[in-house]
Symmetry: C2
Subunit: 255 residues, 2 copies
DNA sequence: CACGGACAAGTTATCAGACAAGTTGAATGG
DNA sequence: CCATTCAACTTGTCTGATAACTTGTCCGTG
């Protein structure tokens, strides 16, 4: 009678939020302790042993928590000397650009009420740029949308979104393209988890500016963004023009 | 006869580069192994035990290395199942904006040969904006420089740098302001370690555009950056205008 | 035969203890 | 006074064990 055979693990991560570990909790508790004791840049943290006793965890867990803070650049560790708060904490940054949020989510978080006008929606084939961004074959079927977002009748954003056709099944004409595209993708099982963005400054292309009466509105931030799901599928390529007079990105930089 | 008394640690981190730990090395080795085995998004990594044996380190060290990768969003850990590659790895990003580098360093890394023209240098007092950015009292003495960087006689960048006067002692007239200001600051013990940057799109202000014949050059990325040392001193406030047609920033974004 | 529960196998998460490596300041000797 | 040694201290790493969680197989029952 043979014993039980070994179990096999399927080769995909779960798509929901991961369980929160003790080390992650301790990381936050360390930050709270720092605030509580009014520690500032350059100040020394309690030792690993002291923190382990303080939080009632093992030293390994404390180390893992501290490692997270070091990786964030918040803490500097020196063997034999201790750990010190780095200067980043003194630089207040809200909503860093490294935190992915869709354009709709961003506008909502900013509390900015906008009117979305769908300028065009087309079933098309992927251009070479889109094919590369979406890891598609050249000429693969896509849906491409062009939308204008206005605030108090003032144009503030123009979005060009390209989605693999298969990701949003059903007739194009029946979909409400003025609402969040990432929400629609998520509803079809394509939850955007990450992206790579390229940010530069430009003026609106003539094809858009003159055609839709948007010329002469100054400088725009152009964000070209490739969006992927947890298992690596490319589900959205966005070219978003943000009016320079209305938008800015914040980021912490560290050597 | 009393024994030796306890030693005390001074309350400041060292200002040089930190020693590289084994865990940091293993992190890079894991990435190399991933590439070697052509693992892609969603694929499962070897177990902690396997990796520990493969690299000849303890399991704790392996865990600390893997924690770094998880923190970067490159790896997703699931208790009882294993670890999986997240989709970020499939998004190629070079020189993310989160990595601090001074403007001079950036241009050098890009291999872009530029001519730097010092348009003005003045001893002045801090404006309210500068005072806030540099954590100075209003009206505190500063040095303010205005420089133009050109590539093949084409203007590509305009820098306004404000430095607390005390950070660069000596007569202003005797200093070569066309070279790297962060290098000069470092030479006086003010090594810039981190910064907080705000990025938007704009046109050149009239005060600069018309006065120096730089108008009509399109859209510019405006980077307003507060730079700090390891012990938290604010030593530089920069307003850098990067020509949109020549520069872009790359960033990975993750939920 | 289908379903539910128990259990073994496997993997990450955490703890405890020990030793290694590096830093610092006091003590000691020249 | 200066240089060297050494103890105390702190982070870095290793080893071994147990806890917590996941998955698939096996077995009993309806």
């Amino acid at each position: 009678m043979a014993g039980r055979t070994a179990r096999a693990v399927s080769a995909s991560p779960a798509l929901g939020p991961a369980r929160r570990t003790r080390a992650q909790e301790v990381r936050d508790q360390v930050l709270a302790l720092v605030a509580e004791r009014c520690l500032g840049p350059g100040d020394r943290l309690p030792t690993e042993v002291e923190l382990s006793e303080h939080f009632g965890v093992g030293r390994s867990t404390t180390r893992e928590a501290l490692k997270l803070l070091e990786q964030d650049g918040l803490v500097i560790a020196e063997q034999g000397r201790g750990r010190f708060l780095s200067p980043i904490g003194s630089l207040a940054v809200e909503r860093p650009v490294t935190r992915y949020e869709s354009v709709s989510e961003m506008l909502e978080t900013m509390g900015m009420s906008v009117t979305t006008t769908v300028l065009s929606v087309e079933e098309s084939t992927a251009s070479p740029v889109e094919a590369e961004a979406l890891a598609l074959d050249a000429g693969a079927p896509v849906v491409r949308t062009l939308r204008l977002r206005s605030h108090d009748d003032e144009p503030i954003m123009v979005n060009i979104n390209t989605i693999p056709r298969a990701c949003l099944p059903g007739p194009v004409a029946y979909r409400d393209w003025s609402s969040s595209i990432t929400a629609a993708l998520a509803a079809h099982g394509h939850y955007v988890l990450s992206s790579a963005a390229r940010i530069t400054a430009t003026e609106l292309p003539d094809a858009i500016g003159t055609r839709y009466g948007l010329a002469g509105l100054g400088a725009w931030l152009l964000v070209q963004e490739r969006c992927v799901t947890a298992d690596g599928r490319r589900v959205l390529y966005a070219e978003d023009f943000h009016r320079g007079s209305a938008f800015a990105f914040q980021v912490l930089r560290h050597r």
